[in-house]
Symmetry: C2
Subunit: 190 residues, 2 copies
DNA sequence: CCTACCGATCGGTAGG
DNA sequence: CCTACCGATCGGTAGG
């Protein structure tokens, strides 16, 4: 008889273990121990280990989308949108670095049939960033930069954050985003 | 009786499989099949599966270092060094995307005792990029940007290349590097 | 490099 | 949610 909230504890444990050891190196016995059960009991809550991975990945994808989409839809200058979008993205990473790690690093452990929805979610997200850059170029706010490489530059830097960001460091998510946005907008040369 | 060059074939097979499926999801039987042996025979060439991973990772680390270090030591303007270093890095990725993927994505599967040397190699590499930025700031060629975030920006974009770069695409490594360097040096705003 | 095999461990199930 | 367990597969070894 599952007690309420137990599924969320399990997801949380999976985020921790999958992000630290990787999906394949995490056993159902690791997961069970982390939540204080026997391994067989997990299956009162889930059907397969992979279901946990899928749920973490899809939840994370939705968080990025939900954080950035409203910014893109607002009417603000492109530079402002870019700053805000980067900050929103980094805030999502910072709020749960484990989940971000699983989303960006472990999603390929999903079976090929489950890849498609993740790829679609990522493409949708990339299009949000592309829209900001397009707006900036079309309005003349940005130089006529190559849209796809500008998008890749922004995407690279925000997606790499999970590799090094530690909550509790000297700079919070918004300050990190400002540093990067400033560099990307103004460049390194005077 | 191992025949010569067989170890390299094995490393190549490991690069392919580790980069595609991940280290933990690749079995010694997968590896053996890829080189046309029985799984037990692998152990005439290696002591453990992890040795293959370590060798791939360390070789890759050396390639990045060897490609970029001479550029940093040369006497050229910082902007030129930055372009060249990015191009050299991306060339290493492009020349063997599998090895780059293993180096950047799978190295954490190494046992904790083997982490240290990888981390040291990566820090040494990051210092190379930092030196370029420092030169530019000190010479006045660059604005007084925050060194560590500028380094992270460059590192993010070149390290993310393995995620999307496909050899045979429209742009070669040098052109990709030029696009990114131009954006980083001049920024997106006019 | 093969045959034959080992102990350990894996994800998951049956029955309560 | 536990006990008890299963078939499959794992990395690796012995002996040739």
């Amino acid at each position: 008889m599952p007690r309420p909230g137990r599924k969320d504890e399990l997801l949380e444990a999976a985020v921790t273990l999958f992000s630290q050891k990787g999906f394949h190196a995490t056993t159902v016995r690791d997961l069970a121990e982390q939540v204080g059960m026997k391994s067989g009991s997990l299956y009162a809550h889930i059907a397969t280990k992979e279901d946990l991975l899928e749920e973490i990945v899809m939840r994370s994808a939705e968080q990025f989308q939900a954080a950035v989409a409203p910014i893109v839809r607002s009417d603000a200058p492109a530079a402002s949108k870019l700053r805000q979008a980067m900050a929103a993205h980094i805030r999502v990473v910072a709020s749960d670095t484990g989940a971000a790690t699983v989303f960006l690093h472990e999603w390929k452990a999903l079976s090929p049939e489950r890849h498609a929805s993740v790829i679609a979610a990522r493409q949708g997200y990339e299009e949000l960033l592309a829209a900001i850059i397009r707006q900036g170029v079309e309005s003349g706010e940005f130089r006529p930069v190559d849209e796809s490489y500008a998008r890749l530059l922004v995407l690279s830097v925000v997606n790499w954050v999970y590799q090094w960001y530690k909550p509790g460091g000297p700079l919070g998510p918004d300050q990190v985003a400002d540093r990067f946005a400033e560099l990307i907008l103004h460049g390194m040369e005077p």
